[in-house]
């Protein structure tokens, strides 16, 4: 436990939905619209949490547990994620693997809840989600292993604390490859554009949206908040690699890291505005490219 880690944790809980707002705003600006307010995700959350829930009679407790367990797993994962070069509130040797597994657990329960509705449509979404994340996970894990090997630790906190201008000078190419791999994983895991279109409710193209279609009210609010936290976690990985500069003063560092996250959201929004969604058959190819980038980084490091 450490004080600054806790402050960062509170900051993440507070600011995570803002990233979604920024992405939406950037997309609106690209399309020439004014767009929804930046704080719209907060209004949505408040609105959803005040509603009542409706449950289908075919569902069991798994369906109700889904959103809660997902959010709990993501909250736990968030506690492990370092921010601004400072370890999270929880930090121990091997927390890399715990973090990846917690993200996996969150996904697993979303999938279970989707399957529990008994709808073939949600089953299709679940199948796609599992297929794509099975390909995205190696990229993330290999990337983190490379980073751990490079900084000779198995804990996320010290790992990202060691990433700095000095490491960029000695192993810049490796880190750049990792940043690319992490960014592709970010887009895939948060169902952003080249993989999935978060705006569309067109049946054949959705992946993540399909699975949460039967959730409503507070449950959907929890899911929305969970996806905001997930975006925050992955953005923190990418930003921690790409903007490693620390000036010593804690508060300036924190502000810089928040700025870096908002910048990441800006880039995500830009990518989303400039690219079309990939055909479903091409998606695995891009994910394998991310894994290839991570493995290449690994090979170049061990030469």
């Amino acid at each position: 436990m450490n004080g600054r880690g806790l402050i960062h944790y509170a900051l993440a809980l507070l600011l995570a939905p803002l990233l979604l707002g920024v992405i939406n705003r950037v997309k609106a600006a690209f399309a020439g619209r004014r767009g929804q307010p930046v704080l719209q995700p907060y209004y949505d959350l408040v609105k959803l949490l005040q509603k009542g829930a409706v449950y289908s009679r075919t569902t069991t407790w798994v369906f109700r547990a889904g959103p809660v367990v997902t959010l709990a797993a993501l909250l736990a994962a968030l506690a492990l994620v370092p921010f601004a070069g400072q370890a999270g509130p929880l930090s121990f040797q091997g927390d890399v693997i715990v973090c990846v597994y917690l993200l996996g657990l969150a996904r697993f329960f979303t999938v279970l809840a989707a399957l529990d509705t008994g709808s073939a449509f949600e089953g299709m979404g679940a199948s796609r989600e599992v297929q794509f994340s099975a390909l995205a996970e190696p990229a993330l894990l290999v990337g983190l292993v490379v980073l751990g090997r490079q900084t000779s630790t198995a804990s996320l906190g010290p790992m990202f604390a060691a990433v700095g201008p000095a490491l960029w000078m000695t192993a810049g190419t490796t880190l750049a490859l990792l940043a690319v791999a992490f960014f592709i994983v970010l887009l895939s895991e948060n169902s952003r554009v080249p993989f999935d279109d978060p705006n569309t409710h067109l049946e054949l193209t959705m992946i993540h949206e399909v699975m949460v279609l039967d959730h409503g009210g507070p449950d959907f609010g929890l899911i929305l908040y969970g996806s905001a936290l997930k975006l925050w976690i992955f953005s923190a990985f990418v930003a921690g690699l790409v903007v490693p500069y620390r000036c010593g003063n804690g508060w300036v560092d924190t502000a810089a890291a928040v700025g870096a996250l908002l910048l990441t959201a800006l880039v995500v929004g830009t990518v989303e505005s400039c690219m079309a969604r990939l055909r479903l058959l091409r998606v695995p190819h891009l994910l394998i490219s991310a894994t290839v980038a991570a493995v290449l980084a690994f090979l170049l490091m061990t030469r």
Binding site: H285, L296, R303
Partner: protein
């Protein structure tokens, strides 16, 4: 220390992987042009001194590999209806995975090579692995793709690899050798261009796989 040489070599790795993983002929030609520039600036980075000869060789290499050849290929491709490599013998994803294995093999082999070459270049970083990997990539492209253009391109990539390897092994006399090789390659690409043109005019496609069957054998429409 990350030097410019390392960055150029890693970019060479990436363009090779890009060639293995993409399906559009236009992307192939553009990546080959980028690779020509990367290989072309190599003498400047290796030699440190800006001798007139070095600059001339660099300029010549870049001019031929990243302007002339891509231009020729773009010209050849202008007549194609289908600008994709359809149904290669090995899928793009499999090629990519094979490419990663090839990177591993290249690193493994180059670590076991005796350290030869002036200035300890062989010992230096990624030069030898990148050279070997380019050769492997060229080989994979040559063997697994169907279209004649892609096969010519695989040959080009292979030559890039040989050029880099020559830079490591005989840094002094490499330029003379390279000029000869470039000339050969130019003639080769030129001839293949004419051949592809004729094949295409005769058969309406450049799928080399189908050249195995005789055209006027009745039976097949």
């Amino acid at each position: 220390m990350t030097s410019w040489l390392d960055i150029v070599m890693v970019l060479l790795f990436l363009t090779d992987l890009g060639l293995l993983g993409s399906s559009r002929l236009g992307v192939y030609v553009r990546l080959a042009a980028v690779q020509g520039v990367l290989v072309g600036v190599l003498p400047l980075l290796v030699q440190h001194t800006l001798a007139l000869e070095t600059v001339a060789v660099a300029a010549g290499t870049i001019a031929v590999k990243s302007v002339l050849f891509p231009w020729l290929m773009a010209r050849i491709m202008r007549g194609f209806d289908d600008r994709r490599e359809r149904q290669p013998y090995l899928g793009y994803t499999v090629s990519l995975v094979l490419g990663v294995l090839a990177v591993g093999a290249a690193l493994w082999i180059s670590r076991r090579l005796p350290e030869s070459g002036a200035g300890g270049l062989a010992a230096h970083g990624f030069l030898m692995p990148a050279a070997l990997f380019s050769i492997f990539t060229g080989l994979i492209l040559l063997v697994t793709r169907r279209k004649a253009v892609t096969q010519v391109l695989g040959y080009l990539v292979m030559e890039n690899g040989i050029y880099v390897a020559g830079m490591v092994l005989v840094p002094e006399s490499t330029f003379l050798v390279e000029l000869g090789v470039l000339l050969d390659l130019f003639v080769g690409v030129f001839l293949m261009g004419i051949m592809i043109f004729h094949i295409q005019r005769e058969f309406d496609h450049i799928d080399t796989d189908q050249l195995a069957a005789l055209k006027d054998w009745g039976g097949e429409p």
